[in-house]
């Protein structure tokens, strides 16, 4: 087992969540622009994925830049979720799922069998399309993974719980009922709880699969602000069907499309370019809203 990632000094304190945007070290932030000197974090080459014999992704190649927000757009069933799950090796858990191709993460081969998958998944958090709160209290939902990772001091756990719930705008709503079941929360609250749960582990990368699809405009805005505030400190890959949102928050955008029954990456580039001057006509049609 070799650890893939990196010195632990890079892990950030919850207190630092409050640091205002402009004091990030990675340079000025502007939506639609690269946020910093692009440093490749994931380098993906010729990635293909099959469920049984059915192809779901074909020859996807792209680079994900550190500290930036990358938005993935595309119609339903084009393999966006499948793509995200290759990045934290969640595809290992699906028995008939075969992945081929090359993924470099921070300069190391991510698909190497000797990689410490637990450590990898701690560095790369994931938020699912459908919220999956565990059958536990709200507090235990966040506490359980924390304790798993050796954070057991009650005061420390409590402060992290409060911090992450504040980050997702849930604290005021649930602070009086932390001990009640997480299943009693509304769908949108559950999704924010799941985001909080992932943030609590302080990952370096966040894979977000349509995090706002179940949210009302207000909590959607909260989550969006949260994602924007992560820029520079976290690398975020977000799948979204909300093109306006992608345009607002992303630095880079990738457009997936189904061709020959398999998903492929049609276009990838700076967000501004993909939305305003797409090279491929499919992309142009899709961002125009006339297809897909």
């Amino acid at each position: 087992m070799k650890p893939l990632f990196i010195d632990s000094k890079m892990r950030l304190d919850p207190a630092e969540h409050k640091v205002p945007n402009d004091s990030y070290t990675l340079g000025p932030i502007q939506a639609g622009e690269p946020c910093c000197i692009p440093k490749t974090l994931f380098s993906i080459k010729n990635l293909s994925l099959h469920y049984g014999t059915k192809p779901a992704l074909k020859n996807v190649s792209l680079d994900i830049y550190e500290g930036c927000i990358t938005a993935l757009i595309g119609p339903s069933g084009c393999g966006k979720t499948s793509f995200l799950s290759t990045l934290n090796r969640l595809t290992d858990m699906l028995p008939d799922c075969k992945v081929t191709g090359d993924i470099q993460f921070n300069g190391n081969d991510l698909r190497d069998p000797s990689v410490d998958v637990l450590g990898l998944r701690r560095d790369i958090g994931m938020i699912f399309q459908k919220p999956v709160p565990f059958l536990l209290s709200i507090r235990r939902n966040i506490e359980l993974p924390l304790r798993e990772h050796g954070i057991t001091k009650q005061s420390e756990v409590d402060s992290i719980v409060q911090q992450v719930l504040q980050d997702v705008g849930l604290w005021e709503e649930v602070k009086d009922r932390l001990e009640s079941s997480a299943l009693a929360l509304s769908g949108g609250q559950q999704q924010r709880l799941c985001i909080a749960r992932a943030l609590a582990l302080k990952p370096k990368v966040l894979l977000m699969d349509e995090p706002c699809s179940a949210l009302d405009p207000i909590s959607s805005a909260v989550v969006e602000d949260l994602i924007t505030s992560l820029r520079g400190r976290y690398t975020v890959i977000i799948v979204t069907h909300n093109l306006a949102q992608a345009k607002r928050i992303a630095n880079y955008a990738g457009f997936f499309w189904v061709s020959d029954r398999a998903g492929c990456l049609i276009e990838f580039g700076q967000c501004k370019q993909v939305f305003e001057a797409p090279v491929h006509e499919l992309t142009a049609a899709y961002v125009d809203g006339s297809r897909g």
Binding site: R121, G125, F128, F134, L135, E148, S181
Partner: protein
């Protein structure tokens, strides 16, 4: 009459019939057994082959046999179910083989289990006619049904939990302990209940393994007579034992009912404490 009303009538009739059978049976046993039931009947040892005295020693033997059966079959059953669901895929040859064998096992008549238990536990392992042999034989009988319900319970837990836990970098074991097994608890308890129900009502398998002796057992290595064996013996072999057989049958029914209620209460209570609402 429309098909709809006809169907409704049929369904109601069927429900009525089933309930009626149950009520008649219960009423018969209660009316004949209640008179003989008293505190002393429950604690005194049987006399004159059960015609007189009570069933104190028999209740103790029955309890011990069930305890042995539960203590061995529950962990074994849970472990097998976990192996089948979490550590092998449903399509693997191994899982299919095990599940086929369990299906066949659950259809085997109890007298065969009795003969097997006698040959294996009593003679081959040298445990003799004893409560231990009886309990272990019952465990073998209860296992298939236990494993089947536990496997179904675990499989019914959505895969999302496993993926979410993995994405939070939790190990498989801790996902199992903290998330999957608690989510499957109702099914596990139901399986255990079915298993115990089958074991507690068992006669044939016990005659060959835990034996007839109606003395108070000193240890699990002693032979002990189970309630069901006692009922069988009183009504088939002992002239004038029918009244006592009815009382014993009533006790057996109450006992199974109590075990059932207590365990579902415990399961509910435990889940409530962990705030699990399904």
């Amino acid at each position: 009459m429309s098909t709809n009303t006809l169907a409704t009538c049929l369904i109601w009739l069927a429900a009525l019939f089933v309930t009626a059978v149950f009520v008649c049976l219960l009423a018969d046993i209660i009316s004949q057994g209640l008179t003989g039931l008293s505190w002393s009947y429950l604690i005194e040892p049987p006399q004159d082959a059960g015609r007189a005295g009570g069933i104190g020693s028999i209740i103790v033997s029955t309890g011990l046999i069930l305890l042995v059966a539960i203590a061995t079959s529950a962990p074994l059953g849970l472990a097998t179910a976990i192996l089948l669901t979490e550590f092998s895929t449903q399509k693997s040859t191994f899982a299919q083989f095990v599940e086929r064998s369990l299906d066949v096992l659950s259809g085997i008549p109890s007298i065969i289990f009795g003969l097997f238990g006698n040959a294996f536990f009593c003679i081959y392992l040298g445990l003799g006619f004893s409560i231990l042999s009886g309990g272990l034989t019952l465990a073998c009988m209860a296992l298939p049904i236990l494993i089947r319900t536990a496997t179904e319970g675990l499989r019914a837990v959505p895969n999302d939990y496993r993926l979410s836990a993995a994405a939070l970098s939790m190990t498989r074991t801790s996902a199992l302990i903290h998330l999957l097994v608690p989510a499957a608890t109702p099914a596990l308890v139901a399986g255990l209940m079915l298993g115990i129900g089958r074991a507690g009502a068992e006669t044939a398998a016990l005659i060959f393994t835990s034996g007839y002796v109606d003395r108070m057992p000193d240890s699990v290595m002693d032979s002990g007579r189970a309630l069901s064996v006692h009922i069988y013996d009183l009504s088939m072999n002992v002239a004038g034992g029918d009244a006592k057989a009815n009382s014993a049958a009533l006790v057996l029914i109450i006992l199974l009912f109590v075990i059932n209620s207590v365990s579902s209460f415990l399961a509910n209570h435990w889940m409530h404490k962990r705030i699990i609402h399904l």
